[in-house]
Symmetry: C2
Subunit: 330 residues, 2 copies
Amino acid sequence: MSIGLGLDVGGTKILACAVTGSGELVAETRVDSPKAPDRLLEALTEAADAIYSLLGADRADVAGVGVGVPSLVASDGTLYDSPNLPALEGLPVRQAFAERLAEMAALSGSGDKVWRLALDNDGTCAAAGELAFGAARGQSDAVILTLGTGIGGGITTGGRLLRGARGFAGEVGHMVIDPSGPKCHCGRVGCLEALASGSALALQARQAVREGRADRVLALAGGSLEAVRGEHVLGAALERDPTALALFARLADNLAIGIGNLVEVLDPGVVLLGGGMADAGPVLLEPTTAAFAATNRRGRGAQAVPIVLAELGPRAGAFGAAALGLGIVS
Amino acid sequence: MSIGLGLDVGGTKILACAVTGSGELVAETRVDSPKAPDRLLEALTEAADAIYSLLGADRADVAGVGVGVPSLVASDGTLYDSPNLPALEGLPVRQAFAERLAEMAALSGSGDKVWRLALDNDGTCAAAGELAFGAARGQSDAVILTLGTGIGGGITTGGRLLRGARGFAGEVGHMVIDPSGPKCHCGRVGCLEALASGSALALQARQAVREGRADRVLALAGGSLEAVRGEHVLGAALERDPTALALFARLADNLAIGIGNLVEVLDPGVVLLGGGMADAGPVLLEPTTAAFAATNRRGRGAQAVPIVLAELGPRAGAFGAAALGLGIVS
């Protein structure tokens, strides 16, 4: 049995999971995310050390390490475009971390054993996780949208990850779907992320509060406009608050446009919704599926593409990083 | 030397090319496109027969036949969604044509020789042609937009064609890029095809004529509003007519949004513009490149993706069909 160590670098924490080749979680821990660029290697090393320490007798089975980062990962292992973790910009991470891992393996008495190291975008890792162990198992072609503060994504085609010419593929959140829409932090206008992410939902909810239409959302945020976040809209939607449900319906309409575009371009066998916002479950899935069905142009001879919730939840990225470290997915 | 026969079924003609494995055109001919569903097999057989007859001594080198159709091609070889050639809907073409080819090979004295048969969407064929013999040669990841009456497309990733789960990938013309845009014939609103195709350009030009802003375009169309087509806008643009140039600029803005979305999702090494409208050359390419550069969010560490004209012109689909028939591209 081989074990992969998967490290998923989030905005506040690095989630570290030790996962077997059949997708069993052996150990799990968290360390703080780096706040300064020169701390990333330390933080990754700390996370790898922490999860490795938890393994006990299973340590000898570790065969690979995977890292997911909220950045574009160039083919040479340098990171770019980390709006949600700017500290990562321009870092040549892969080679430096490989050296740290080699030191770690030597110190831990693993001798000459070389761990395979994979470094990928977090959306790509989430797609890898769901492909290897989750809702895309057995599918050759799938897309996952990771819906959180931003919108990331990962694509598999022909049973492999689609990385593109420079390693930057899968940035589904930055498809422009409405040129008269709101400005995106990427500098453009009307990106899917600016319309259907958790932060977009929060902005829309704050506007509704200002207009006096979202008392329940405001109450769940403790009465503070500035404190309103996507989770408060979700809480209100679960109570069937009409304003919150309307906000989810609008989000679903935009999400359905993005999904429709991905279906036209990629023809996936399944579309997965993952990331923190997928915790909303049916509150997100039902209006999205309905909006997609209403605009889906495939009536003749082709079944509609199923939209489902991802299965691995917040562990998708770490599981996928582990699968990439093990070489189960490539 | 192997020869592939490539048949590209267009709205009015089937273009048939005989192409060597190194991309040399050996023979070329055209037959009428079928006007009724029960005529497609006859027309394909006629086209295959016509090009085969032209080959003379080279006939023994024929190793495969490829067919490109303006339809979605399901994995079982059935055709769907042929808005520009409705006669093709629902036809189980691949198997039936394979039987015709076997008969043809037998009649022509080729004996037991079995020709490989490929059947694909015309955009996919164009991508295959440019990948094998044209502007995407040597690129592992490329996208072609075929700009004509409609907008089709084809995608290569990792050196292979991206077909998707059901064979329907690459429908780049039906990305929705403006929900407040014009209605598309597919039934949805704001598709790239409804904003940046040749027929969209003609509609916009007719509107400009009605508003008295497009005298030169109208003159080139012989003074008839109904006769205004994309080619008349192109003619006026080549004369630097301001209205025609403004129409191309608007088209380029929309095209750049579509290209940007494809770059975010697929990260191609190159984007090709093909199809009849690519005959516009710099009149199309320059504003598109400028609009793409103005909105491209990749500044840090990544070069902008080059946008270039396809090289094979109207033969891209037939060359690609031949390459697929030969198995050079898959």
